[in-house]
């Protein structure tokens, strides 16, 4: 029996190592595809660095000057040379400087990332708790009054485009009622608690919009998981044992519904940096969304590359976290058992 436990331990360790190895390979593949996609974008980045007029002047009169600019921004050499240079940058975490402003890409991206994470994490936390809890209640009493009311409401919300709802709320609560600021992230010249309150005030509307959408999808997913699980034989057996409704729900139903729900939430967290781009644009939130939008328009390769890399790493990392959490919750995954 002890040997069997040791073997199981090794098997689980191997499984975790396999997941990790796959994640690393995936990040490497993403880095490469990321580089190729960005360099396939039409237009010469030097044109965006110098501006149209200066670019064409140099192009016609001093083409060697253009090569100098290319060398200065590491845009010279073959695509392979540039790729190897890019790989070196990634490995040494030297992401260079923006083609446009000249500031450190890492510094800019990390600053913007902080603000996006604030927005997205709040929305994910609220929607996971609210959508999850309501989904459990509605799914457990499928067809009941709560289920019918909430399903109708959330299906309606699912059909409205996020930016459309954001604009409606902006018009009502900011322009008409003046309850919330029209845009931005914080009022100027504030520090301490007043600054914290100002940030909360500014983020209220965007978080509300993001939360509403995520809550509706989380609700519908959780409801579906729970309504399937509550009809499983082991739930009927738990009821037949005389277990209280609360314990049947929490110990038996919820635990089983957690596996797919954790995966869903982890995937949402994985998209934390890129998932609220439209909302950021509507509410003038200076986060990753607007940064990527501007960087793509200006062919700012270093910024785009680092943003895409961070997004990819984030997705892969939280996918790995989801695998580990599911393995922790479900012993069948630990043992590598196939189940439906």
């Amino acid at each position: 029996m002890e040997n069997q436990e040791q073997r199981l331990g090794i098997k689980r360790l191997r499984l975790a190592a396999g997941y990790l190895l796959r994640a690393v390979a995936l990040v490497f593949a993403i880095i490469s595809i990321n580089f190729i996609l960005i360099h396939l974008m039409p237009g010469d980045p030097v044109m965006h660095i110098l501006g149209d007029e200066q670019y064409f002047t140099l192009y016609n009169q001093f083409p060697e000057k253009l090569d100098e600019v290319r060398a200065q921004y590491s845009l010279d050499g073959s695509l392979l040379t540039q790729y190897l240079r890019y790989l070196e940058q990634v490995v040494t975490l030297q992401f260079g400087h923006s083609f446009i402003g000249g500031e450190s890409v890492a510094k800019t991206v990390l600053f913007r990332m902080k603000w996006t994470a604030l927005l997205a994490l709040s929305a994910i936390a609220i929607s996971a708790l609210l959508g999850g809890a309501l989904g459990v209640l509605a799914g457990y009493r499928k067809g009941g009054r709560l289920d019918r009311a909430l399903t109708g409401l959330f299906l309606f919300l699912e059909t409205i485009p996020a930016n459309c709802l954001a604009l409606i709320l902006l018009v009502i609560f900011s322009y008409k009622l003046h309850w919330f600021p029209v845009g931005g992230m914080v009022s100027g010249r504030l520090s301490g608690w007043p600054r914290v309150l100002s940030v909360l005030h500014h983020m209220a509307l965007p978080v509300l919009v993001l939360s509403l959408f995520r809550t509706s999808s989380n609700f519908l997913l959780m409801k579906s998981y729970v309504s399937q699980i509550r009809d499983e034989d082991y739930i009927v057996v738990a009821v037949a044992k005389g277990i209280s409704r609360r314990h049947v729900l929490f110990r038996h139903v919820l635990k089983n519904a957690l596996v797919p729900f954790v995966t869903t939430i982890c995937l949402q967290v994985g998209h934390i940096l890129s998932g609220s781009m439209l909302i950021e644009v509507v509410f003038s939130w200076k986060g990753m969304g607007t940064l990527i939008y501007d960087a793509v328009n200006n062919r700012d390769y270093p910024t785009v590359q680092m943003c895409f890399l961070l997004i990819a790493v984030c997705v892969v990392f939280f996918n790995f976290v989801s695998d580990m959490l599911c393995m922790r919750i479900d012993p069948r995954i630990q043992d590598g058992v196939q189940h439906g």
Binding site: V236, V237, A240, G242, S244
Partner: protein
Amino acid sequence: MIEINKLSVVFRGGLTAIDCLDLTVPEKENTVIIGESGSGKSVLLAAILRILPASAQVSGELLLDGTDLLSLGEKEMNELRGTRLAYIPQGGGSSMNPLLTVGYQIAEPLMEKRAASRRTALSAAVDWMKRLNLGSEEKLAAAYPHTLSGGMRQRALIAMGAITGAPILLADEPTKGLDGERIETVTDLLRRLTDRTILCVSHDLRFARLVADKICVMYAAQAVEQCDSGAFFSEPLHPYSRMILEAMPENGLKADMGFAPPHSEAGRMGCRFYDRCPRRGAKCAQAPPMAEREGRKVRCWLYAD
């Protein structure tokens, strides 16, 4: 004592799973319900426990010591489950929660209904597993259901039902998937539980012969014969009862037991066994009454006065 009067269970869409069943389950005796798949045996146990899906319409009376279970609220009914009524489900892979340990699931009713500490309940679970001869019981208690074989799972489910000490035990195919030696263990255990009233559903006639005091034969949602176990095995009355006994290997597999639901007009409106009955007559196109003969009940025109 359980007294069942005119119990009917109809599922949405009109499927009748139990049709006007009358049955008395005497106290501290073993009653075994036999019959082929789809005859309504398991539905009867689920109806007593009130664990049928919402799509099932139940009518009639289910009296537990005079109290009609169908008239109880869900809270009152839940108080009876695990204290007065215990359930042994069929041991398919889906009867145990895959994310909880076997020991915990066996011990759970004790923690929930008898307020036993986790330690005491788990220790009792291991004791019951030992009584059912599962082997390496302490380790198995900490294992998850997917690591157990079908037979081990079945015995764990028996432990789960028996551990509560509830005076009435409802067992659904407790020997399903067990080999001869394990069937003997389960049979011994059930025979030793003389202080309990056992209502058991089984396909296994040899097991029924060993544990049953009373037999109820079900066919196509109806009880067709009810009598003492001895009388049933020595002299079955209903043609269906004769057929299933003749189909036993020790009786030379004399009957062909090919399953056929009632399909003719007479089979649907009259005797349900009409289409398969070797002794059918003109009268059998009408629904037969439940005839009483020497303390035995038989739903057949052959025995109707």
